[in-house]
Amino acid sequence: MAVAERRILFKHIDEPGYTVDIDCYLKHGGYEDLKKAIKLEPQFIKDEVKKSQLRGRGGAGFSCGVKWGFIDAKKTTKPIYLICNADESEPGTFKDRQIIHKDPHQLIEGMIISCFANSVHLAYLYIRGEFPEGARILEKAIAEAKAKNFLGKNILGAGYDLEIYVHRGAGAYICGEETGLIESIEGKRPYPRIKPPYFPAVLGLYMCPTIVNNVETLCNVKHIVNMGGEAYARIGKPNNTGTRLIGVSGDVKKPGYYEFECGAITLGELIYDVCGGIRNDNKLKAVIPGGSSSKVMRADGRYKVKGANSEMTEIGLNDIPMDFDTFAAVGTMSGSGGVIVMDETRDMVDCIENLSEFYAHESCGQCTPCREGAQWMKKIIHRMNHGHARKEDTDLLKNVADNIAGRTICAFGEACSWPVQSFIAAFRNEFEAKAK
C-alpha cells in the first residue's frame, strides 16, 4: 500500500484551476500568515522557527533557526540582507521549479515573513538563468504583492519597508553555492569565498550580514508562522521535522515530485509503491538519494541504522526511512531531495562518466585540486569507459578523488569527489572489469 503524501508546500501544486495570480492566492488564504506575522515581534518569529527545528532544504540540512541566530539586528550597525537561493541546479533536483512556476506567491510570502523576522529591508531572489519563465512569473508576483502593499513601503501599515528583486544567473552551477551566489549578485565571477572569514552571516553580500536560504526552506517559514513552531515540530521526526519535497527520476515507472513527512516513507516504498517500481520491470541496481553529489547506494547493500531502542541494526536499502539523520548514518545524505534510480541494465562506469563530465564542466577553477582533479577524473573515467582502461586506473581514480575532498575552498570539492569515491566503493568490480 502506498504511503499517503502529506502536501503542505505542494498543497495547491497542479490543482485544477489554481493559477499564479495573486487573486487566486488570496482566495486560498494567501498572505494571511504575513498579516499575522507583521503584528508579532520579529524575535518571536525567530523563536518559533527555532522551535520548529526546521533544517535547510538546499542540501546541507543546516538548522534554519541556528543560521538566523547568528544575526542580531540589535547589535549590527550594517544593513542585513536576505537572499533566496532559487538556483536549483543540483542534478536530480526539480522541486523548487514547481513552486516558482506554479505557486510563486507562497515563496514571496515566506520571503517577506523571513525578511521581517530578521529586520531585512532589501532582499534578492537568485534564480538560475535557465528559468526565464520562472523569473517573469516571480517578477509579476512581486509587482502584484507590491500593489497590495504586502511589499514596498510601510507594509500593511506596520511601518516596515522591504524590496525584493529577482536576479537571474547565467548557467553556472557554482552560483548555487551561497558565497559564489553572493559574488554573482555583486556582479562578479561566482568564485566562492573562503570560510572563515567570509561566513555570509558576518561578511556576506556587500560585506554585510546576509541570510541565504533555499526556496523550500523559506516556504516552510510561512507554514511555521501558520501553525506555530511546536506544532510544526510534531510533523516528521525529532530533528527531522516537517515535510520534504522529493523528486524521483531515472529508471522508475512513475518519476515525479512528491511531498512526504520527513522519515514517514522508506526508499523501497518510494520506489515501488509511489513510483510504480522499476521501468520495464527490471531489477533495481543503485540509488543516488539526494542529488548527484550524494553518495550512491547499492540496492543489495546492508545499512546500519539505530533501531527503536537506540540499538544498532542492519537493514536493506528498501527499508531505509527517508530523513536527514538516517541518510547521514548510512553514509550518504538526503541533500536536495533528488532521488536518481538506476536499474540492472546500467553500466555504473557509464553513469559516473556522465556525472564526471558535469563536475569537470562546472568547477569554477579557483582551487587547483578541484580544477585539475575534476578534469583528471573525467579523463580517466572516459578512457576506462571507452576501451582504454589500464589496470591501475581504478586506484588512480580513487586517489585523485581522495586528494580533492577536504582540500578546497568550497564544498564543490566534496560534491565532485563523493560520487566517484562512492561509485568505486560500491561497484569496484565494474571499474576493474574495464581493464580486462
Binding site: Y165, G169, S184, E357, E362
Partner: protein, 163 residues
C-alpha cells in the same frame, strides 16, 4: 561609439540598475541578459558600453561573459535548442534526443559544442541539468521548455513552431 540604442532599450537598462541601490556593478548580469536578448550576442561594443554604464573596467564585464555559459561572443542560429545531457536525462534518452535534433535540423559540428545548421536557422547544443529530471529527456528551444521529448514525431512537431 557607433552603436545606437533605442530609448526604450536604454530605459530598460536604467530600470535594471535601480534594483541595485548599493552597487551599480551588481547590474552586470541583468544588463548582459538584456543585451543578449536584444542583439543575440555580446559584442565588443556591448562590453564597452556596459562597462562604461556601470563605471567598471571592460575586463570586469568580459570576464563574466567568458565565465557564465549562457553568454556568447558570437551570434548563433535563429533558434537555440538546448538539450539536457545530465544523468537522469541521459538515462531517459538525452543522447537520442540530441542526435535526433541534429538530424532534423541539419545542425553540424562536434557534439561537445554548439552545432549550427548551414542555413543558420538552428543551433543544437548540450546543456547541464535543467531541473526537470522527472520528465526526461528535456530541452529548451529559445526560452520555452519541453519535456519528455522521446520520439522523432515529437521532435518534428516541436520544430514546426520554430521556422
Amino acid at each position: 561609439m557607433s552603436i545606437s540604442l533605442t530609448p526604450d532599450f536604454e530605459k530598460k537598462l536604467d530600470e535594471a540598475i535601480t534594483h541595485y541601490p548599493v552597487s551599480k556593478r551588481s547590474a552586470a548580469l541583468p544588463l548582459l541578459h538584456l543585451w543578449q536578448e536584444q542583439f543575440g550576442y555580446i559584442s565588443d561594443e556591448a562590453i564597452e558600453f556596459i562597462a562604461k554604464k556601470l563605471e567598471v573596467q571592460s575586463i570586469h564585464i568580459l570576464e563574466l561573459v567568458t565565465f557564465y555559459p549562457m553568454f556568447r561572443r558570437e551570434p548563433i542560429g535563429k533558434h537555440h535548442i538546448k538539450v539536457c545531457r545530465t544523468l537522469s536525462c541521459a538515462l531517459g534518452g538525452a543522447h537520442e534526443a540530441h542526435a535526433c535534433m541534429k538530424k532534423l535540423t541539419g545542425a553540424q559540428g562536434d557534439d561537445h559544442g554548439p552545432c549550427t545548421s548551414p542555413d543558420g536557422k538552428y543551433t543544437v547544443e548540450y546543456v547541464e541539468c535543467l531541473a526537470s529530471c522527472g520528465t526526461a529527456p528535456v530541452m529548451m528551444i529559445n526560452e520555452e521548455f519541453y519535456e519528455n521529448v522521446n520520439s522523432e514525431e515529437k521532435a518534428k512537431e516541436l520544430l514546426k513552431k520554430y521556422q
